[in-house]
């Protein structure tokens, strides 16, 4: 959609916090099975916020230079960081019962938490859904057309505003879902959004802008390298990721799957 | 020897032959009109020769020297400059600044960061003179984004002219302006060009202008040169008039 949203990480964090407070605190006594179904609650809240943000803060800037989006979403990042602190306080929130409930299983010598399979499954489903949505539905076609040329799409009768707010909302849903699904395994902490953002950008840079397959591949690469890094070279694990991103930008500026704008 | 000569110059865009084995020649001091329907390859040819993108095959010879692989700034130093169909100017800088930039660049002075630009008196004097030649002196302190379309077209040419090229490519210098402005632009451009003995290649759609101002006409179609001759010869060339009458409406 050619929107750069520096506050995207905050939506991920909000997804995590909402789910954690819902599942981990408020309804902690409820039957665990129900709690699993409530996991995506964070995603819906993030989506709702996105639906409000796009028309108010992002739409005024589509006609202006892209860098203004960076500036306004950076301001938004600062606002949301404190909003999260205001609502949920400075301490981490966890929903770890959902994580430990599923136990773990062994792969050879290693023990692997079963919950992670749920995360992988969700990630896979989300990827498939998003891909199908963008490339196989009429809405997705309208979205791609609008993203390429807003004026022309509007001249063809597309309600550009509605397309964009809907698409942006879906994007925020995904961010929130990411946070929500991850929170049982790691608590929701302040600053998780900012950290996640840079990772997300690295994924997109490596995978390529405008490419869903790229985002998936990029995420896998980042995930794998991160784990290798943590085990083998914990000090430079972070640095390595950023260096890989820089390297990819050097060698293949459009990313692995990206189409050069 | 021709000032400019291309040999089997070719450029593809995907499957399209934008420039198809073109042998294009320009003699010293000529004013050549490059005509053809939209998509015939005129701008692509100019783009390749000026260095906007490299050819897929073929050669470009400038005074007999192979310039095919030179960078844009090297071609400018060699003496090739161009203006643009869709006006390309430094919109937030004044007209003076726009022209002065070419002069600074030409004199290799743009690398100077320890001296204030205002100190370079001769540069600014020359910029004023050039603006005067193009009839733009009055608006010289206005930013380029704030002048009329006709003035912008003239400025676009002036910026290229300030590089003191030997060969100047003008891409549709009169497009998008009124008929009266067209004539004014062409009068100024051709008088400036001829007084300095600059060789010019002008892409033009307006056949009246083409026949009035050019020494020679080269017609292109589908990336190839269709015809090449004096205005009289071209007028009598059935192939040209047949293909272009319908497409070229001025």
């Amino acid at each position: 959609m050619r929107i750069v949203n520096l506050a995207h990480g905050n939506l991920y964090a909000i997804g995590a916090f909402v789910t954690a407070s819902l599942v981990g605190n408020w309804l902690a006594g409820t039957r665990t099975l129900i709690l699993y179904f409530l996991l995506p609650a964070g995603a819906f809240v993030a989506a709702a916020i996105g639906a409000v943000l796009e028309p108010t803060l992002l739409r005024p800037f589509y006609r202006r230079a892209e860098e203004y989006q960076l500036l306004v979403t950076f301001g938004l990042l600062m606002i949301l960081e404190d909003a999260v602190r205001f609502i949920w306080g400075p301490y981490p929130l966890s929903a770890s019962t959902l994580f430990s409930e599923l136990g773990s299983f062994s792969i050879g010598d290693a023990i692997y938490p079963t919950y992670n399979l749920l995360v992988i499954a969700t990630g896979g489903l989300a990827a498939v859904f998003l891909w199908a949505f963008v490339y196989r539905t009429r809405f997705g076609l309208l979205l791609r057309a609008t993203a390429q040329d807003m004026r022309r799409a509007s001249a063809l009768g597309v309600n550009v505003n509605r397309v964009y707010v809907q698409a942006f909302t879906i994007g925020c849903f995904m961010a929130g879902l990411g946070g929500a699904i991850v929170v049982p395994g790691q608590s929701a902490v302040l600053g998780m959004g900012v950290e996640a953002l840079v990772l997300a950008f690295i994924v997109v840079v490596i995978g390529g802008l405008g490419s869903l397959e790229g985002a998936l591949v990029g995420a896998l690469i980042v995930g794998i390298f991160r784990e290798i890094g943590i085990t083998v070279f914990p000090e430079i694990e972070l640095a390595m990721l950023y260096l890989i991103a820089a390297f990819v930008l050097l060698v293949r500026p459009a990313g692995l799957f990206g189409r050069p704008a | 020897m021709n000032l400019l000569e291309t040999r089997k110059l070719t450029k593809y865009f995907g499957d399209t032959h934008a420039v198809d084995n073109v042998d294009f020649k320009v003699g010293e001091g000529e004013v050549v009109a490059l005509i053809g329907a939209n998509g015939a390859g005129k701008t692509s040819l100019v783009n390749v020769i000026s260095g906007f993108f490299p050819p897929d095959s073929g050669q470009i010879l400038f005074r007999g020297v192979d310039v095919t692989n030179l960078r844009v700034d090297e071609r400018i130093k060699a003496g090739i400059a161009r203006s643009f169909q869709i006006v390309n100017l430094f919109d937030q800088l004044t007209l003076l600044d726009n022209v002065a930039l070419s002069i600074f660049s030409r004199e290799d002075a743009t690398k100077t960061l320890w001296l204030v630009a205002d100190r370079f008196g001769p540069v600014w004097q020359e910029a004023v003179d050039i603006l005067r030649q193009f009839g733009l002196e009055r608006t010289r302190a206005i930013v380029a984004g704030g002048i009329s379309q006709g003035e912008r077209k003239l400025l676009d040419v002036a910026v290229a002219y300030a590089l003191r090229p030997q060969l100047l490519f003008l891409d549709e210098p009169t497009s998008g302006v009124s008929t009266r402005d067209k004539a004014q632009i062409m009068d100024i451009v051709t008088s400036v060009v001829r007084s300095r003995k600059i060789t010019a290649v002008i892409i033009e759609h307006d056949m009246d202008i083409v026949f009035k101002y050019s020494d020679r006409i080269v017609a292109m179609q589908d990336g190839k040169i269709l015809a090449d001759g004096t205005p009289d010869e071209i007028r009598r060339n059935k192939a040209v008039t047949n293909t272009l009458i319908g497409a070229v409406d001025a």
Binding site: V198 | A81, S102, V159
Partner: protein
């Protein structure tokens, strides 16, 4: 960012010189007029102004928005801290020398990679590269002190001629303040010459129309790289001046939100104007100090200000002030 229709170049008039002299004099007399705390606060402001001036060479004049300038500020600060830690250096001049060298190296590495790109790519790439430095500072704790950081004692000035005696605050609010002030004025002068030079015009040409700049014979990458180097050195110097004042350097100044703050300063002042980053940095400094004291949610407040700025006042303080003054003038002469 070529969509703002306000020209950048302004000549040097008697009025400008007069104003500059007046302001410099006011700044010089300040320690005698206000207390030590206020003087030190302004010193911070002047230091950030140097950093913002550096950033704006890229942003306002070359059209490149870097979200990674924390890297240079942090390089300056950590070079000083490491020179203290490993070489027991005390001289501010040596610190500055080391900073300039290190900033040039970092700027060359980062710049070489990033000047091939523009717009969002450029911004995010710089962000990612600066994060490399942040993560190194964070993780290599036996060198950098990790999240605890490194302490830096007060340095000696002018080759050891002036050093702190007993009263550190007095030293910082007098001798060190004047040192910072002189360097600030020097930086302003140097930057003024650079942006008004033919090179500065070439940068603006690149900003306005990269294609035309290319076809006027300017080699885009080279010029961007030089601008990047100058920009990095300026911000690095700011970092080096900052750390003795702060007494401590931590990875926070390498963390990318701090890059965002430097950008904020330029936007606040008005990145389309030479004085914009200076005004923006000084105002931001006061703003942040006030806001941090006023509420725990100061980050949100700053965020709101930034959003309002970008939405409603894209020309910043200087631009808006100019507009108001012009309107008043026209109304007065009508």
């Amino acid at each position: 960012m070529s969509t703002v229709a306000i020209p950048l170049t302004q000549g040097l008039s008697i009025k400008t010189v007069a104003w500059a002299v007046l302001i410099a004099a006011a700044l010089a007399l300040l320690p005698f007029a206000v207390g030590e705390y206020q003087t030190i606060l302004l010193a911070y402001g002047l230091i950030f102004a140097i950093a913002a001036l550096g950033l704006n060479l890229l942003l306002g004049y070359t059209g490149l928005l870097s979200f990674g300038h924390a890297a240079f500020f942090g390089t300056g600060a950590y070079v000083v801290a490491l020179m203290v830690k490993y070489f027991h250096v005390q001289s501010m001049e040596l610190f500055l020398l080391g900073t300039v060298g290190a900033s040039l190296v970092v700027a060359f590495l980062f710049g070489f990679v990033s000047v091939r790109y523009t717009k969002i790519f450029f911004s995010i790439l710089n962000l990612a590269l600066s994060q490399v430095l942040w993560s190194l500072a964070y993780k290599f704790y036996w060198v950098t002190g990790g999240s605890d950081g490194l302490r830096v004692p007060t340095p000696t000035l002018l080759g050891g001629a002036i050093g702190v005696t007993d009263d550190k605050i007095h030293f910082l609010s007098h001798a060190y303040y004047y040192y910072v002030l002189v360097l600030f004025l020097a930086c302003v002068l140097v930057m003024w010459v650079i942006v008004h030079s033919p090179f500065g015009k070439a940068l603006q040409a690149i900003r306005d129309n990269e294609t035309r700049a290319r076809f006027v014979g300017i080699r885009i990458r080279q010029y961007r790289l030089v601008a990047y180097l100058v920009s990095g050195v300026f911000t690095g110097i700011a970092g080096a001046l900052w750390v003795p004042l702060n007494g401590l350097t931590t990875p926070d100044i390498l963390y990318w939100p701090f890059s965002g703050e430097i950008v904020f300063m330029c936007v606040l002042g008005g990145f389309q104007y030479f004085t914009g980053p200076i005004v923006g940095a000084v105002v931001f400094n006061y703003l942040k100090s006030w806001v941090v004291g006023a509420t725990t949610y100061w980050q949100a407040l700053l965020g709101i200000i930034l959003v309002v700025l970008v939405l409603a006042l894209p020309t910043g303080i200087v631009g808006t002030a100019k507009r108001i003054i012009d309107k008043a003038r026209r109304a007065a002469s009508a």
